[in-house]
Amino acid sequence: MLKSKHFELIRTAAVLLISLLLTFIMISFVSGSPLQTIGIFLYEPISSVSHAGNVVEMAIPLMFTGLALSLLFKMNMFNLGAEGIFYFSALVASAAAIHFSLNGFLHPIVAILLGGIVGALISGIPGFLKAKWNANELVTSLMFNSILYGVGQYILNYKLRDASAFQTASFKFEPTAVLDRIIPGTRIHTGLIIVLVCIVAGHYFMYKTKWGYELRMTGANREFAEYSGIKTGRVILYVHLLAGLIAGIGGSVEVLGMYSRFQWNALPGYGMDGALVAMLAKNNPLAVIGSALFLAYIRVGADMMSRYSDVPSELISIIQAVILLLVSADQFLKFWKNRMLLKEAKMNA
């Protein structure tokens, strides 16, 4: 039976369904052969191992940033710094991949850890400012995105750039640094294992450890946490460090798993997408897996659609916008919940 306590789940499902329906309607307007186009959109991403691989590949960075942002959002901090950190840590890991010479086992580990640590340290700055002076984390983290992008472009152009490459890109990574593929026929790399481990660890951290408890209480009611004796400033700081670490590892893994050079000339957007993933997942680490896969699925679907039909892939940004709108709209479907509650109340009476 449908119950009010499953409301959030039902609501999320309804949101996804509505946005898909809207997509179909739009496709019908734009496309010459709408049914076929919808078929491509829905089916192509899972039609072959290699296409399904594309979905998973794309989901990996989304899971990283989604997890990082879930931690911050759960603490009631609307920090979007994962974007810049993802980018900058990828650059740091690239530098390590280019300039260090280590064996094939150690090299990626060192590069990824380096990227992660740098990410944590950068993330710690808005965290410190928030904890110490209550500086708005949204503002500081967004400004850091710009700063990191500027510094990153400088480093890329003046320190790492390979003049013989056709585009603005770094030197090639040492082959020892690149992550191994784990599923034949796809480009899915060991990063998948890393992210799943991170997510499970994140789940245990959030719901089973005392630090996660501190995080949740600080997020639920900071004044209550203070009153209980929790040092919320410290909590804010370490959660920022942790989120930065995860986003940093994410950037490093992405660049070492999918590329042979660092070639991002703009912020890659995974941080912002991570916010959508976290919101869809209701800031629950385990749910991040599903929501990242879903987002990757419709992304790849849109990509296939633009390749094989007459509808451009930009359509997908409309779907994303609708999802974001409905997920963040608190009152959406509330009336229905109220009606359900009324019924339950009557039954219990």
């Binding site: 949740r216 009611n221 209980s228 009324l342």
Partner: protein
Amino acid sequence: MRETLLEMCNITKVYSNGVVANQKVNFSLAEGEIHAVAGENGAGKSTLMKMMFGMEEPSEGEIYLRGSRIRLQSPMDAIRLGIGMVHQHFMLVPSFTVAENMVLGMEPKKGVFLNQAEAARLTREFSFRYNLQVDPEEKVENLSVGMKQKVEILKALVRGARILILDEPTAVLTPQETEELFGQLKLMRENGHTIVFISHKLKEVKAICDRITIMRNGRTEGVFDIREVTEQEISRLMVGRDVVLKYAKSGREYGESVLQVRDLGYSKEGKKVLGGINLSIREGEILGIAGVEGNGQAQLVEALTGRLEGDSGTVQVAGANISRFDIGEIRGLGVSYIPEDRMRQGTAKEASIVDNLISTVYNSKAWTRWGFQKRKKMAELTEEKIREFQIKASGPAQEIGMLSGGNMQKVVVARESSTAPRLLIAEQPTRGVDVGAAQLIHRKLLELKEEGCAILLISADLNEILELSDTLAVMYEGDMAACFERPSELTEEELGLYMLGIKKQDEQSIRRAMHA
């Protein structure tokens, strides 16, 4: 029987968090009566009133005014139909004058400016007609609580209210101010106004009301002519059992002094808030502090809980000077604290009951291992506390925000009492809590006292403070105005004189009584 003015039929209200506040409630108001609505907290009184005032819409049911059905979608609708409400927490602009507050939203204009003279005249006119003396030129922030309440009542009257809802109007008043308010309410009744009077205090209900509607558990238990029911009958209907607010207390054997405050002074913006407070509480002693709100009690508690550092003096808990400690360190000394505001500080309402119950102990070795929480053990403890405190909940994992006020407060008290504290600071521990829960909380406080805990009880509920305290102090304008060693021999009226600053003991006898 007089004509029915307003009728609410079969009202059901379910809040979006799942709380069923009203179930098939019927309420009817006769013209020109003072009608009491009594019930435990969480019984649904406030919800019913909010629906009458258009702040909430019923999920089901109808409201009729003079026989015709009305729909109230906002307080504006209610005001237009002549329904006014005075909230427990006043809704006034502190930096505006009385007259300006009075005409807020319906300002008389002179060109594009506010017509101050007209506003003042209007205020005086109503002030005179209802014998509610206020100074139109005075700023609201300078008024006492009682005065602010008068302004609120006038505000409703100026807006043409014929039906006036008063939500626990006497909660913040001294006995003398209460008397005065009753006189004014009677005058309003003579003028043909109809008044809904929400209160926990049965004596007051008996004193002034014509009829009473009793609510329990979101339902109406009955409507009675006030002369036909006794206080005992009312309270039995409210809680479903007889209530005696009398407790057997053990003899006085106190141990060592646990809390010692010496010459604690504090000023804010040049105004004296605490004027050199001295007090001491010994093991097994309950020190009550009475006083009208805003006479320094809040700041005293802040100083004891690490949120305020005095300008002078010292605070010692078990011999340690705590003036530089934060609340975590203070709790480490064995101090527990029941805060006044359970929504703001006492609970995290989206978190589960377990999470709310362990917030002060989660860090100790008993509850964690290698950083991992012993969630199972925590759930067991919660089950146990739910049983011990008779908390109405579906289980440890339920969100605490779904519980009624009284049950939430029980969780707070369960948490603060479960750590075997040496000192418990209880700030309004039973405010806005039903009689049943209040009794349970009182028993728990006495139990702790038996175990040797020193308790600082700050309360606006005179009955509670007279009944529980071993030693009773009164604060007035940041000073100790009096201290009594045998509070049970005092009457509420006598206490009121000290609370209002009309009487004052000399410093010597206060110190002697306080053992400071």
